[in-house]
């Protein structure tokens, strides 16, 4: 039963990602982006990682999506005349190389028949993430506050009209 869901959601995620790339209208591609993020969240649910799944929904499907929608609305790109990317040769090369690499890696890393390891009881709950976050990886936790500080300072410095 899990395998069915797994293939369903991963296909959904990849499909939505392709939708993002190929759709002309920026707002519709934003919706596809949200679709792929929600599909990823479901994949996390399959792995019983509830906390990560909800973070994925909250931060990506919620906050980042709203940011993208605002940006799209602020830029107000006319849907039809998005400038066509004049890549020509490099696009063909890129697609070819990407396809080869994909096939090669897929062949090597195809999930073997073990399937999903049964997870222990209460594997995905918050405590199993919270304790290491504040003990082993406390330093990483403090570094993220620096990154967020720079993010806010940068946003204010660059975005505010009259700083």
């Amino acid at each position: 039963m899990q395998a069915v869901f797994f293939w369903l959601f991963s296909a959904l995620a990849v499909g939505c990602a392709l939708g993002v790339v190929f759709k002309k209208n920026p707002v519709v591609s934003a919706v596809f982006l949200m679709g792929s993020m929600l599909a990823l969240a479901c994949l996390f649910l399959l792995l019983d990682a509830h906390f990560i799944a909800v973070i994925q929904v909250l931060v990506y499907a919620g906050a980042v999506m709203v940011l993208f929608s605002f940006i799209i609305m602020i830029l107000n790109l006319p849907q039809e005349e998005l400038p066509p990317l004049a890549l020509g040769g490099t696009r063909a090369w890129g697609v070819a190389f990407g396809a080869v690499a994909l096939l090669f890696l897929a062949g090597k890393f195809f999930p073997t028949k073990e399937g999903f390891m049964p997870t222990s009881r209460g594997f995905g709950d918050v405590r199993s993430i919270a304790v290491p976050l504040f003990r082993e990886y406390a330093l990483a936790f403090e570094l993220t506050s620096l990154v967020l500080l720079v993010g806010i300072v940068g946003a204010v410095l660059l975005a505010k009209r009259k700083v």
Binding site: M1, V28, H50, V126
Partner: protein, 352 residues
């Protein structure tokens, strides 16, 4: 074979719960529309609906039928797929929170161990739905209203998130049932999170204000400020799609009252000994629904007394008053937990 039976059972139970919840939501949302008009009536020295059914109780059924029969327009130069998708997202967003609401000690659809966090995540999806609806209807008023309502609900999500933290800190777990279980001390009343310490009392008010603002209700109902932006993001909607926004708004009122009652007012804890007279802790669920009803009445009461706040005042309240206050309450609770481990405020004097 046994595995399939077990899985089948789970699926069946889940399907039953889903159907039950959809009924509960439709009923609650509808009844709230009636309740709001009745309360408004009596507050404004008039009667409110009393024609359809006894005391107008079937008014919302009549509204529902009317909405089924009304024409569902899609403006010509609107962005049709998005125009249709927006209301779905808003409806599903407000519907999904029902899965986590604890209606009783053992009556809950899914007791996720990340209950409260899940609620915060789902409300942020609704915002994207609003934005899409506003953008797709290709109308100046709708766009301005959608942007404003999105800006409002995302900025109020910060104080809501931080004030959700206080009960989690006190209970040490995020699941709503866990939080309610942790409020059991002090004769069932003094153990409530609201009375746990002065900071959590302040957090109750900060949290409720932020939650009211999050679902765009007065005094923060700016986006659909009739007097300014005509009808905000649902200017171009009519028929059933307009009903989705309508249902979502009233379902949200019920949801925030249930959550506030569950995490701050002790959920189905009740201060009297005869707790288990009825089976399945039904007494508890009645108590919880009573608390939620009180909060719902307060939210409705707000709508019919307070005027509306202006946009910049709205943002200022959020970023300059609610967020700092919520952070102070959080830190205060943390220090309280460290200073008096596990003791509630009244426990300092008495025995509890």
């Amino acid at each position: 074979m046994e595995i399939f039976l077990q899985e089948g059972l789970v699926l069946l139970k889940a399907a039953l719960w889903a159907v039950a919840l959809s009924l509960v939501m439709a009923l609650v949302a509808g009844f709230l529309t009636y309740l709001e008009r009745k309360v408004a009536g009596h507050m404004q020295a008039r009667l409110g609906p009393n024609r359809v059914g006894p005391y107008g109780l079937l008014q919302f059924v009549a509204d529902g039928v009317k909405l089924f029969l009304k024409e569902d327009l899609i403006p010509s130069d609107a962005d049709a797929p998005l125009f249709r998708f927006g209301p779905y997202l808003v409806f599903v967003g407000s519907f999904a929170v029902f899965a986590v609401l604890p209606f009783g000690e053992r009556i809950v659809a899914t007791d996720l161990n990340i209950g409260l966090f899940y609620v915060l995540a789902i409300t942020s999806i609704e915002t994207v739905g609003l934005l899409m609806a506003g953008w797709a209807s290709n109308n100046k008023w709708a766009l301005l209203g959608a942007m404003r309502s999105a800006a409002q609900s995302i900025s109020y999500e910060i104080p809501v998130g931080v004030s959700f933290l206080i009960p989690i800190v006190l209970a040490g777990s995020m699941s709503l049932q866990g939080i309610i279980h942790a409020q059991a001390g002090g004769f069932g009343l003094l153990g409530w999170n609201v009375f746990h310490n002065p900071f959590s009392l302040a957090a109750f008010f900060v949290g409720c204000t932020a939650m009211v603002a999050e679902i765009n209700r007065t005094p923060f109902d700016l986006p659909e400020a009739e007097s300014e932006l005509v009808a905000g993001y649902n200017t171009e909607y009519s028929g059933m799609r307009f009903a989705f926004f309508f249902l979502a708004e009233y379902a949200n009122i019920f949801v925030i009252s249930m959550i506030a009652a569950a995490i701050f007012l002790g959920g189905w804890q009740l201060p009297s000994p005869f707790k288990d007279i009825l089976p399945f802790g039904l007494v508890g669920s009645f108590v919880l629904l009573a608390k939620a009803a009180v909060l719902v009445f307060i939210v409705l009461w707000l709508r019919w007394t307070l005027p509306r706040v202006r946009v910049d005042q709205l943002m200022e309240v959020c970023w300059k008053y609610l967020t700092p206050m919520a952070l102070v309450c959080l830190m205060g609770t943390a220090v309280w937990m460290w200073a008096f481990p596990g003791r509630i405020f009244f426990g300092l004097f008495g025995t509890a």
